[in-house]
């Protein structure tokens, strides 16, 4: 039996980084991520890890330092939130296209303006096309487990992409729950010794990192990232299975909950999936066969598998904790819909922006609305909000 300790989501992220013992961490504080790297910095200070900790002057510099360290062949990490992620966005795209498997917990927080520190997914969605793998966590246990797995996924020789481990700000990052840890020995064995695909500092084999590619080769570089993402779909499942054999907690691209016989279902990202599971249980107590599809991997997006898992469901609510101006509904809705082949009525619900709470009863209402649509076949008015004052 592994050790089970009370941890916040930020603690769990720091604990996982500590257990992996990366070579380099370049960090800058931002709410609500600060405690994660604060905790990790204390492990560096205490000599529990031998990570080189670089304290930089901005997130742009943090990601730049990560780019340099990873190019040099170091196993590299950082973490951020919200404005910090946006500030490092320029370099994030470069890290991904240069195929550097940096691991970065992103503690999801709304983006300004207005200034807000509450949870939503606007920050990571801003970078959905940056070439980073994006894995979303439901709770602190998943944060710990996913950070450990992220190294194996990103560093796989046929993937070589950076990985964001997304956890909901405050809802996960600042709430405490029991987390089972595999410990440094098992974690380091699981991730293995890091053998970088290339090393800028290997003077015996000189290379150029970041050269100009014009009309002749740029396009092919982009196509390679498409292929790496496609391969990541397989690798995420393989690594999740192997982690399951080690811990009893298996991971995949998504987790179906009471979906087999569901008439109505919710698909969502992050902590809301836990809320949706409670709502589904309550709906079932009232005779409505409700289910949940918890999407873990947003990038790569397992569209065909999602469509297959929802094929028999009459009406589906797609919950977005982010918004797309000028296109009704959120990004998750449109991606799910682009793979849905008829059948289910799909309804978009944008919710929880800026940390606005979402409760089991909110989602029971969603299940009830879905049931009514399933009966009536009504397909108008599918762009909806939860908890928004309409006056």
């Amino acid at each position: 039996m592994n050790k089970r300790v009370p941890l916040t989501g930020n603690d769990a992220g720091a604990e996982a980084l500590k257990d992996v013992n990366p070579d380099v961490a370049a960090v800058f504080p931002i709410t609500p991520q600060t405690e994660l790297m604060h905790q990790f910095a204390s492990y560096v200070h205490d000599g529990v890890v031998d990570t080189e900790l670089i304290l930089v002057e901005s997130e742009h510099s943090a990601q730049s330092a990560c780019f340099g360290a990873a190019s040099a062949g170091a196993r590299t990490v950082t973490a951020t939130s919200s404005q910090g992620l946006l500030l490092m966005a320029e370099i994030c795209a470069i890290t991904a296209a240069t195929r550097l498997p940096v691991v970065m917990p992103v503690v999801n927080r709304a983006i300004s303006a207005p200034v807000n520190i509450g949870c939503d997914h606007s920050d990571s969605m801003f970078l959905r096309d940056a070439g980073w793998i994006q894995l979303y966590c439901e709770n602190s246990q998943e944060v710990y487990d996913t950070v450990v797995q992220a190294f194996r996924i990103g560093e796989h020789k046929d993937v070589l992409l950076p990985v964001m481990v997304c956890l909901d700000g405050f809802i996960i990052s600042h709430t405490m729950e029991g987390v089972e840890l595999i410990g440094p020995e098992a974690a380091r064995q699981f991730v293995g010794e890091y053998d970088a695909a290339f090393r800028l500092l290997d003077t015996a084999k000189p290379i150029t990192v970041g050269p100009l590619h014009l009309t002749d080769y740029y396009f092919e570089c982009k196509r390679q990232v498409v292929e790496a993402m496609a391969t990541a779909r397989r690798v995420i499942v393989e690594v999740g299975k192997e982690y399951g054999r080690l811990t009893g907690r298996e991971y995949a691209l998504f987790e179906p909950y009471r979906l087999d016989d569901a008439e109505v279902a919710i698909i969502a990202l992050g902590s809301t999936c836990g809320t949706a599971k409670v709502a589904a249980d309550r709906a079932r107590e009232k005779g409505l066969r409700a289910g949940v599809l918890k999407l873990r991997s947003f990038r790569p997006f397992p569209g065909e598998e999602i469509a297959e898992a929802l094929r028999h469901v009459g009406a589906v609510a797609v919950l977005d904790r982010s918004i797309s101006y000028g296109l009704p509904g959120g990004p998750l809705f449109h991606e799910v819909r682009s793979f849905a082949n008829g059948g289910a009525v799909l309804v978009s619900y944008v919710y929880g922006l800026g940390g606005r709470d979402i409760t089991p009863s909110d989602l029971q209402c969603v299940f009830a609305e879905l049931a009514a649509r399933r009966q009536s076949g009504e397909s108008d008015g599918v762009f909806r909000y939860i908890g928004l004052r309409e006056s």
Partner: protein, 95 residues
């Protein structure tokens, strides 16, 4: 186009695994102004050689002998940094 590598065959990440390949990449065509060297005014301090970002200042036996126009982008740092008394490098419109 046919001699270019496809995405399956080329190295990943835009990385060049071969050293010195920039010698084959001629960037002189980017130039608007070109540096012109006046041998009679030059004291061969080699400040231009130190500061040229493209290693395009040609030196033989410690003396400036001209420019590598295949790689000089015409930035003008050499002319700007040439000591005021000499003005041995002038920038001319490169037609």
């Amino acid at each position: 186009m046919s001699e270019l590598l496809g995405w399956k065959d080329m190295p990943i990440g835009g990385i060049i695994f071969e050293s010195g390949s920039s010698q084959r990449y001629v960037t002189g065509g980017w130039r608007t102004y070109k540096p012109v060297h006046a041998q009679d005014r030059c004291v061969h301090c080699l400040r231009c050689w130190i500061l040229c970002p493209d290693s395009a200042v040609l030196v033989e036996n410690g003396r400036l002998v001209g420019f590598d126009y295949d790689h000089c982008k015409g930035c003008g740092i050499c002319a700007r940094e040439c000591p005021a008394k000499c003005r041995a490098i002038e920038m001319e419109l490169d037609r």
